[in-house]
């Protein structure tokens, strides 16, 4: 469920990035790299788990599924926070700079 949640986040971010490309004012690319990287790593985890459990891997207990979904949502939120911090620090639109340094008339 964590893998699935991250893959959906990666797909949505990639679509948003493509819509805004080639301009990257909102730095959505950062989110794409982060979610795709995590998705690939969790895919390996899933393959290893499937090798161990077999078909049972696809029948998780509802409680485990809910916990994994909760983890997936938390991972997506953490990714968004990392992206937001980078966006505000890089400030590609100059919004923070404009707010901090007002021009003298």
């Amino acid at each position: 469920m964590t893998l699935l949640t991250t893959v959906y986040a990666a797909i949505i971010c990639t679509i948003i990035w493509y819509k805004g490309a080639p301009k990257s004012e909102m730095k959505v690319g950062i989110l794409c790299w982060m979610y795709w990287g995590a998705s690939l790593m969790w895919l390996v985890d899933a393959i290893f788990e499937y090798a161990e459990l077999g078909a049972e891997y696809f029948n998780p207990a509802p409680r485990d599924m809910l916990n994994d979904f909760f983890l997936g949502l938390s991972v997506v939120a953490l990714g968004l926070i990392i992206w937001l911090v980078i966006l505000l620090m890089k400030d590609p639109k100059g919004v923070i700079k404009a707010a901090l340094f007002k021009k003298n008339k």
Binding site: M34, M41, F48, L78
Partner: protein, 138 residues
């Protein structure tokens, strides 16, 4: 247990490599003439930029994976930081790092290599267009 440490190690190496390569790279420009007859000068994507894609995949993925390990109590904020080491399961942890951790690094690197191949094909196609001139700028 500690599988994310393998991609983190790779990320450290590739980040250093990207910095070193970037400092030695020269700007490569290409003149592309479009169908309306106008000639446009474009810059080729540097290898350090392409290596940056791998860095972002590895750092981003490892960061989120590290969070998952904290979530499951496998990583703790005090020494020795890894629960497996604290519980005397170091051998099991190393075995997992050697299997799942290495596979994670291999898969991410393989996907990046695929991206390099696709971008190389796209660059070649763009250059195959009539009247393209390649040049190197210092």
């Amino acid at each position: 247990m500690g599988c994310f440490l393998v991609p983190v190690t790779e990320a450290v190496v590739t980040t250093v490599a990207a910095r070193v390569i970037k400092s030695k790279e020269t700007k490569e420009t290409v003149n592309i003439s479009s169908t309306d007859g106008s000639v446009e000068e474009v810059t080729k994507i540097k290898f350090s930029t392409k290596l940056g894609w791998l860095n972002k995949l590895l750092w981003g993925g490892s960061a989120l994976l590290a969070f998952e390990h904290i979530w499951h109590g496998e990583v703790v904020p005090f020494f020795p930081f890894l629960t497996a080491v604290e519980n005397g399961e170091t051998a099991g942890m190393l075995a997992e790092m050697g299997s799942a951790g290495v596979m994670m690094s291999v898969l991410v690197t393989a996907v990046w290599a695929g991206m390099l191949a696709v971008s190389a094909v796209m660059e070649k196609r763009a250059l195959r267009a009539p009247e393209c001139e390649e040049g190197v700028k210092a």
